[in-house]
């Protein structure tokens, strides 16, 4: 089956000698909602830059929907919509013109462009702002404008580079709903984000890049099974002077009312409550200490760096 994205041995060394990518291999299936994660400077934006032609690769091959970018980049570009990390539109242009002009650069006539601009601006809640200069939009609106602009030529692959950075929770969730909708309609989505909750919620498949190398490429489900423990924070009814000794669980007393407990994979929260009951400890409420993927992400990146340091 044709891949939405096929990357083989992709390398990039900039003119200043910095090697941003050290030969990564990556495949994304058609229709996937794929997370590309990594710490700052890992090589995510360089990868996206190469896909969108803003960065020239040093080595390797890239095919977008079967089109080799070395053979016919023009055809490959038609399949791709890009929502970059930084705002990159003319802030002195009206919203609707930004979207319509983008369609024009893809050879879509102005009449069709206006119809599509209306469709996407309405879906993203920007139609009422269509005559506003882009500089007058809020941060969240500017992000949505970039999504509308990226979709106006109706690409088969949408790349979003940290699309919800600086966006409040309500708008972030509405953007998630919108992205799920277009993914369900067939658009392949590749997402980079620092909100790991976002990746965990949206993406069934994930790759992690660090130091220009691909250090993980698997399904989200498979990745999360690597978690050995999950930590819960318990708000206690009474007070404790010291962490209790609970068989099968590691506990830390954060303060007299708050207990932190590690639960091994395979154990159940019910077991914990049984043990707590046995010790006469009553619990008001419970919450997970960290996002599961966040913990795993830190573990994977740190262990990769430790191995590199030893070598």
């Amino acid at each position: 089956m044709e891949k939405a994205l096929h990357i083989k041995n992709l390398g990039k060394t900039y003119d200043n000698g910095f090697t941003a990518l050290k030969g990564i291999d990556l495949e994304v299936e058609v229709g996937d909602f794929f997370a590309l994660l990594g710490p700052n400077g890992a090589g995510k934006s360089t990868t996206i830059g190469i896909l969108s032609s803003l960065v020239r690769k040093t080595t390797g091959q890239v095919s977008i929907m079967g089109q080799d970018i070395d053979v016919n980049f023009s055809a490959a570009k038609k399949f791709l919509g890009l929502v970059p990390q930084e705002f990159n539109f003319n802030v002195f242009e009206p919203v609707v013109e930004i979207v319509v002009n983008q369609a024009g650069y893809y050879g879509i006539n102005r009449k069709t462009a206006f119809v599509r601009a209306e469709k996407y601006l309405r879906e993203l809640g920007l139609w009422e702002k269509r005559h506003e200069m882009a500089r007058n939009l809020s941060g969240g609106m500017k992000r949505r404008l970039m999504i509308a602009r990226a979709l106006v030529h109706e690409p088969q692959i949408l790349i979003l580079d940290e699309p919800t950075a600086g966006v409040d929770i309500e708008i972030r969730r509405s953007m998630w709903a919108f992205l799920r909708k277009i993914n369900a309609a067939g658009t392949t989505i590749i997402l980079t984000t620092h909100y790991l909750e976002e990746a965990e919620n949206l993406c069934p498949n994930i790759a992690i890049i660090d130091g220009g190398e691909l250090i993980e490429n698997t399904s989200m489900k498979q990745l999360l099974t690597q978690l050995h423990t999950e930590t819960f924070v318990l708000d206690l009814v009474g007070q404790l002077d010291a962490a209790p000794d609970l068989p099968g669980f590691v506990c830390r007393l954060l303060d007299s009312h708050t207990l932190e407990v590690d639960i091994e994979r395979g154990s159940q929260v019910n077991d914990l409550f049984s043990v707590l009951d046995g010790h006469g400890i009553r619990v008001n409420s419970l919450r997970s200490k960290t996002n599961r993927l966040e913990q795993l992400f830190v573990n994977i990146v740190e262990s990769g760096r430790a191995v590199e340091a030893q070598a």
């Binding site: 020239r56 038609k78 539109f89 024009g104 102005r110």
Partner: protein, 257 residues
Amino acid sequence: MTLSEQYIAFKTIVIKEILRFSRIWLQTILPPVITTALYFIIFGKLIGPQIGQVQGYNYIDYIVPGLIMMAVITNSYANVVSSFYGAKFQHNIEEMLISPTPNYIILLGYITGGVCRGLSVGIAVTAVAWFFSDLSFTHVLVIISTVLLTAILFSITGLINGVYAKSFDDISIIPTFVLTPLTYLGGVFYSIDMLSSFWQNASLLNPILYMVSAFRYGFLGVSDIPLSTSYLIIVGFIIVLFQASLHLLNKGRGLRS
């Protein structure tokens, strides 16, 4: 991209450019009209009568073509350099770069935008000139072809400046220190016959002299330079600079890393 898709992309860039300078007409169209009107008043009406005739024409009638050409040159150049560098500065040039639009279409789109502004200002200045002088259009085709070719040439040079520019200072250095002196010394206000033979020969190195002379020939029928030489120089510069600017875009100079 098919040819019709390329034409749509070209039209999109041109419309965007026209809307851009029309939206800020107070900064783009009006100032050159006022400046040129002041030239007409000061050099044409106040000082001109004391200068007398140049090549058989009243001084104001003699300088009108040069002043129109000066406005066209400055505005064609300014439109492309400011628009292209502005797009680089705000990164919205990436809208075009990530699209399948070929580089030569991007180049042609910006050139046409610059030509449109140059001609708009040229027409506005010509209209003002009518109030101050007896305009004659002796060779209309020469007028149209010269102004068009000159606007194309300076749109291309504006784009090359925009490609190399790394700051807003860089887009004002060339117009201030190169373009303006060359224009003033390019026979706008005088005939090179009035200069010593050394300065006459030195003036021949100034490409703007050829444009102003050909344009003046279109209006008055007199010129410092043979018409064919002017066309050859202008077209030669256009071919060389077009190739150079296309090469810069293809290399992604200052645009792709």
